[in-house]
Symmetry: D2
Subunit: 293 residues, 4 copies
């Protein structure tokens, strides 16, 4: 199977390399073309522009850093739109908001091309290991065609229906994660102030019904007041806000998420927005902003 691949950042490079390793023929493009060399050494062809990649390949995947890069690659001169059309599919795996995704989708469809949004959960390591979770939505036939590639890139892919559902699913997951983080932090504080060892609480939790990777990974550093930003608090709070807005549109009351969101806002007001989202622990501890990244 031949695929185009636009965007060779940390994630994209690992993903394109995985495809090559599994026998895909891959034509890569990156804004800074020199970044293509490494992939060329692994057997990739280099395309000069997004348009040329799309002209050459029936399926093109993009993995770009943000909504503006995602839009630029499609709509700019020499962009995807110039060559997309009947029989060609475009798959954007970048994390973008629903509005950006819809805009790209409509433009591609107007040219008779097929479009799938496919944001992923997982970062560098899972990308390298082909262990991403892929939240796809849009054109079902294109999704079906892409399954062999998704099987290489991720441990699991989901088809979620209409465009926008990928982004929504991420919001719901992140909202649950954010509320759970608050519950966790409150428990650590309660243990500490009640004369119990928070470290022992971590051990007990890890053997129980709510044992989960996040508690295991973040707990020890939270107890040290160390919040190296894997997922910045301001982004987590933004996702809480967007999830609450989605709930507002659909008249879903979510009092626990609302309380958690206020704690994240409080953390932002204390200047913790750029630390990891686990830094909400500083708010609950009452230390007031003394955390370190």
């Amino acid at each position: 199977m031949e695929v185009g691949f636009l965007g060779l950042g940390i994630m994209g490079k690992a993903m394109a390399a995985n495809l090559l390793r599994h026998g895909f023929r891959v034509t890569v493009w990156n804004r800074t073309l020199s970044k293509c060399d490494e992939l060329a050494a692994l057997g990739a062809t280099v395309g000069e522009t997004p348009a040329k990649v799309v002209a050459k390949c029936n399926y093109t995947i993009a993995m770009l850093s943000d909504p503006s890069a995602a839009l630029s690659v499609v709509f700019d001169k020499d962009g995807v739109l110039e060559q997309i059309g009947e029989g060609k599919g475009y798959v954007d795996m970048s994390t973008v908001d629903a509005a950006t995704s819809c805009k790209i989708s409509e433009a591609v469809k107007q040219k008779a091309g097929a479009f799938v949004e496919a944001p992923v959960s997982g970062s560098k390591k899972p990308a390298e290991d082909g262990q991403l979770v892929i939240l796809a939505a849009g054109d079902k036939a294109l999704y079906d065609d892409m399954v062999p590639a998704f099987d290489v890139l991720g441990k699991k892919s989901f088809f979620l229906g209409e465009i926008g559902n990928g982004a929504k699913m991420k919001l719901v997951v992140n909202m649950i994660m954010g509320s759970t983080m608050n519950a966790f932090s409150e428990g650590l504080c309660l243990a500490d102030k009640s004369g119990l060892s928070p470290q022992t609480l971590l051990d007990v939790l890890d053997l129980g019904a709510v044992a989960n990777p996040m508690f295991k990974m973040k707990g020890p550093s939270m107890l040290q007041g160390s919040y190296n930003p894997a997922f910045p608090l301001k982004h987590q709070q933004k996702d809480m806000r967007l999830a609450l807005s989605l709930g507002d549109e659909n008249a879903v009351a979510m009092p626990v998420a609302a309380a958690a969101n206020e704690a994240f806002k409080k953390a932002r007001s204390l200047g913790l927005g750029d630390l990891d989202f686990s830094a909400v622990h500083e708010v609950l501890k009452g230390a007031g902003g003394s955390g370190q990244a």
Copy 2:
């Protein structure tokens, strides 16, 4: 090692049998003595009263149904107190409140005996499999002596310091569990009302950072509105309340737990108190009490 064992309910029978299987000499007692037969068949000696068991064994474990049974076995005629004393240890593994535990502890210590409270997390299956988690507190020397038995009964035991800490640790863990359940339920509702498949959400969650046994076990039945009471909602709400009281004593603000507690109270007001604590989902769904056990 020789141990006494008081109380052969579902939990106690499985635990005593485990001890026998691992080569402990066990003298058992139960209020209804006929319940001892099964253990006798596995090699246990039968004691006629708690006092006689304590007289015979240097270490006696109790696993009783509630605080009143726990008190009765100690303070009634022919009870533990009549024979406890210097060189003898008593280990209560029942789930009781801190006050009950303290009362027993003081009485045992006044007789120069040693006492450990050791409530467990885990129910029938983990008891049978020797996979309980044991939250012990009280006399450290007695705890050390009991480690071989705890190793047989549980996958892990913790020594938590002074009497009362076992009960407190359970409250903290249950509070985190209760808040997390609310976060989970809110997410399921949001997915559903936003046009996403809640079933797919379960699958996505199970691959992510907050994947945990509770989501896996309770999620599918919650989606069916089925709440077979593994842990009754009214008990979960009581533990939330007690955890919030503990936070009140120690001036720990816990806004997410407080919001979760109100949802559980709402569930109680809708008559869902005897269903599983996951029935709080009915409140958040807005169905208002139509869940079934």
Copy 3:
């Protein structure tokens, strides 16, 4: 003083009549021109279009039903913009969002005219009695010129600084009102379920530190489950949401408002959005949607 007056709905008619009664010369316009007759009988001149009113008067007040009407009167053919300019002032007293207000402000200023937004608090009765509270913002010189008119229309006017501040002040006030309504409703429920007379609670509250017109006015009908919509719940909830968004922008944590907002959302989900905002009482009572308008 000569003023133009655009919009003769319930509010506008009462306000224009007040101005006439206090000796202002008033030129009125209304989309349905026949509505001008009543004012003409009181001495008003009738203008054929907004543009003609502005051409005639140095100061023109508008009181329109919603943002779309407010925009239409300015930007449509024969609208305010055609005649506004140097030396002329436009005062919009309609309740509109900040974006609408900004759009009008910029257009007026581009034509060298002066603009003041001046939303009011108070409805029909206070409008008739000249007892409105006027929340003005924008051009300070124009505000100063308008004080004689504002003194007739309201019991008090405030100048709040830059455009948008009038709308923001209304949001803050409505947020406090919405949270206080929830506190009130929770208290009524608690009294009722605890065996106290909610009617007596109303009497006790009315003698105490938080006695206020809202408790006095809404309490008795809430106890009867009657929610005649003076201020529809869906609008109150929208204002709570916008106030929380404003807090989000400025990193202000507002946990009580957030909890109150979720209760209003719950009320919406039960179909109570068109009733008075006091219908949130139905959510807290647990009756689930049986209230009546």
Copy 4:
């Protein structure tokens, strides 16, 4: 009418003086007897012990500082119980918990005496002015007999039914007050951070639907960060907690009160417990404990 009066603290002295001024014959007692001199100068008779006061008067009012003083005056040697009996009434106007009130009530009734609990709302100034609000419960016949005295002491008295209801009514009122204080503080913070003048917000609020004495009295000092303790925050938080417990007993969900309670707890954790309850404003402002009494 002849009445006994036990307890001549700030409140009691003012109340007894009011009774004398209105023609009641009053026999006073105070633990430190010299405090009786001032009242004797106004015409009071002095009793040597509570028992002697009760022996002399058919109706005896008590106004004591706390539950322990209230119990002591009744149960100690030379206490009320020694002389209470058929045809004699005892009215405790101290602020005590329901349990204390019940204990006194039962003891008095066992001696065939009549008992009314009658906690008041209002402090020194209203006591002097006879403007207290009296929340009475217990023996209805005794209440009826006391109405002439209550009319002198308060602007209004309520008979609330069975013993305990006076205390409960105070809790409900204080809960509403505590939540409303939080709503108010959140609004002041939102105004401030959004570029609006909090002082102007106070003025606008004072003209609107939720204008109330508390906003008027506390607002200006809150803006200055000054929290002279009229009602200490730790007592307000205790009342929130007790009101939430009452809600727990009766399965009433009160999410706004719960959120407000957590803010008060946070304030306590920052060391603000002895300041006025309006010091919760420091938590919401995010200043973290810099308030002054």
